[in-house]
């Protein structure tokens, strides 16, 4: 309802021409759009996305975003898979649990408290975050620590834009991202799989990097709940779990945060968790990955790239570090 009430400032669906980089993208988008009406699974996924705005109008959930040169030209994973195959343990540990159970997440009203080592700590309302900086579409590779990957057209702006507004002090060495933890909305919190709330973290220079995206949407629409609505972080050169979803608090801190997976299994999930084909997970190799929807049944997995293919942009952040130890 809130979104609907301010829809006057929002562009209408008819005003928007999504920027499509190439024909593949277009056909995938078309397929997804056509599928929404007819395919039951995709239709359900879209149902969640459409209601995410609270208005239930397709127009109210669209986001206008300009294209980015930081986007990959690889073919995006289908909307159906991006929104139907998720790890979001707050809604259960099965891949289809988030799409099935995230409907109970209330995304309005929503605010994000930004605090800690900053000159101007404050609480941002989600409506303000949506318009804080120009939205960009960033088509990023997403590599899950489990050995699969996707290509996802995210919508957001650099996290650095938010940093500028709060002015981190000299003591701010790390950033901590805290996900909502409300058992009433998140049935997965009943399980003791992780210590809640879910906490992730970045070094301040990683957080300020141009690739680090404060993300509000995907596929040209506001984020579906199962993908971390209404606001999340996306750090494309790290394993997916580093990108916290449904953020309620962002803290600038001096000491390295104790992140959820690092706390649960330190020998398996390090603080850095950069995508690295040379450092195996204790239970499987990270040398290869299966691209969801492409590397099908009778197809070899593809090689995983250092820093998920973003080495050119981010390798300098880790100059001199032994990435086997700082895994």
């Amino acid at each position: 309802m809130l979104l609907r009430s301010r829809s006057a400032d929002e562009p209408r669906a008819s005003d928007i021409t999504p920027r499509l980089h190439h024909e593949n993208r277009r056909s995938v988008l078309m397929a997804a759009a056509a599928g929404l009406a007819t395919w039951s699974a995709a239709g359900l996924a879209h149902g969640a996305a459409a209601s995410a705005g609270g208005a239930g109008q397709a127009g109210a959930t669209k986001l206008q975003a300009r294209a980015s040169t930081l986007s990959t030209v690889e073919r995006p994973t289908t909307y159906k898979d991006v929104t139907g195959y998720n790890n979001f343990y707050e809604f259960g540990t099965d891949k289809d649990d988030p799409a099935r159970y995230a409907g109970s997440l209330r995304i309005r009203p929503w605010s994000v408290a930004v605090e800690g080592e900053v000159a101007r700590p404050r609480v941002f309302d989600i409506e303000e975050l949506l318009t804080l900086a120009p939205l960009e579409e960033r088509v990023y590779r997403m590599r899950c620590v489990e050995g699969w990957s996707m290509v996802i057209p995210w919508v957001g702006y650099p996290f650095a834009e938010l940093m500028k507004r709060v002015e981190p002090t000299g003591n701010a060495k790390f950033v901590e991202f805290v996900t909502l933890a409300d058992a009433g909305q998140m049935p997965g919190l009943r399980s003791s799989v992780l210590a809640w709330p879910y906490v992730e973290g970045l070094r301040i220079d990683e957080a300020a990097h141009a690739l680090t995206l404060l993300t509000l949407g995907l596929y040209g629409e506001v984020l579906p709940r199962q993908n971390g609505a209404p606001v999340r972080i996306v750090v494309p050169w790290k394993y997916g779990f580093k990108s916290g979803k449904s953020l309620v608090k962002i803290r600038f801190v001096e000491k390295q945060p104790l992140t959820s997976w690092n706390r649960a299994a330190p020998q398996e999930y390090g603080f850095y968790s950069n995508v690295n084909p040379q450092v195996s997970h204790p239970r499987w190799s990270q040398a290869t990955e299966r691209r969801i929807g492409e590397d099908g049944f009778l197809q070899r997995k593809r090689p995983t790239l250092m820093f998920n293919g973003y080495a050119e942009q981010v390798a300098s952040l880790y100059a001199g570090m032994d990435l086997r130890k700082a895994y």
Binding site: K80, D81, G84, Y85, T93, K95, D96, W148, S191, S192, V193, L194, A264, A265, E268, S280, H281, P282, R283, W284, S285, A287, R290, I292, G293, G296, F297, L298, R300, K301
Partner: protein, 225 residues
């Protein structure tokens, strides 16, 4: 078996079904045991094996291997508790279905997951305890499947039963394989179910052995149920 008097009609149809009824039961069990495979085939045709079909098939065949192992291991407790000796006639088939799903699980790993990349598979087996354990369980199943025939039973005599006690270790290793696979994700609720079932089925044998075999060592027969 021949010495057991035939129960009067009506009093023990379940305890001793007719030859014809047993044939039907065996056919029904055979068909039921194929359902998990047919389901995978049907889902495959419908393009409904999730976004990650290889993972789906790996998990499904692994799960059904464990289920079949548990069902196979429950034959002896059930036949003793219910007094249905004919259940033994299903055990070979059930055990071979456990082996069948284990082969599918193994082939999924070998082919769809690793694409016959031998060095990668060796690393997997050597470096990753949960794979080591699963692979060991699979290797141990091979002699059991190979000696499952009537002829091999006769040839091996009492050693057959000793050999086939390996199934206890195989079931325990299978549960451990699943447990360690899930442990890193801190999610052992499902493996716990299998651990409890396998532990229960093995505990039954131990308790039965202690109560019936040891005191009965000097006496002629087993106490009635």
């Amino acid at each position: 078996m021949a010495a057991i008097p035939t129960p009067r009609p009506g009093s023990g149809r379940l305890a001793q079904p007719s030859r014809r009824a047993l044939a039907w039961i065996r056919a029904a069990v055979f068909a039921a045991a194929l359902v998990p495979l047919l389901r995978l085939v049907a889902l495959g045709y419908a393009d409904a094996l999730s976004a990650n079909p290889v993972e789906f098939v790996t998990r499904s065949t692994g799960t059904w291997t464990l289920v079949m192992l548990c069902i196979t291991l429950s034959v002896t407790p059930l036949r003793r508790l219910l007094g249905w000796p004919w259940l033994l006639r299903l055990r070979r088939m059930l055990g071979l279905f456990a082996f069948f799903y284990a082969v599918l699980h193994f082939v999924t790993w070998l082919w769809l997951d690793h694409w016959f990349d031998l060095p990668a598979m060796v690393v997997d087996i050597v470096e990753r305890p949960f794979v080591t354990v699963g692979f060991t369980a699979f290797v141990l199943l091979l002699p059991l499947a190979a000696t499952s025939t009537q002829a091999m039973m006769r040839r091996l005599g009492h050693r057959w039963q000793e050999l086939h006690r390996l199934v206890y270790a195989i079931a325990a290793l299978g549960v451990l394989h699943f447990w360690w696979h899930k442990a890193g994700k801190n999610d052992v609720s499902e493996p716990l179910v299998y651990a409890v079932i396998v532990a229960g089925l093995l505990a039954f044998r131990l308790v039965w052995h202690l109560r019936h075999r040891l005191p009965a060592a000097g006496s002629a027969g087993q106490p009635p149920l």
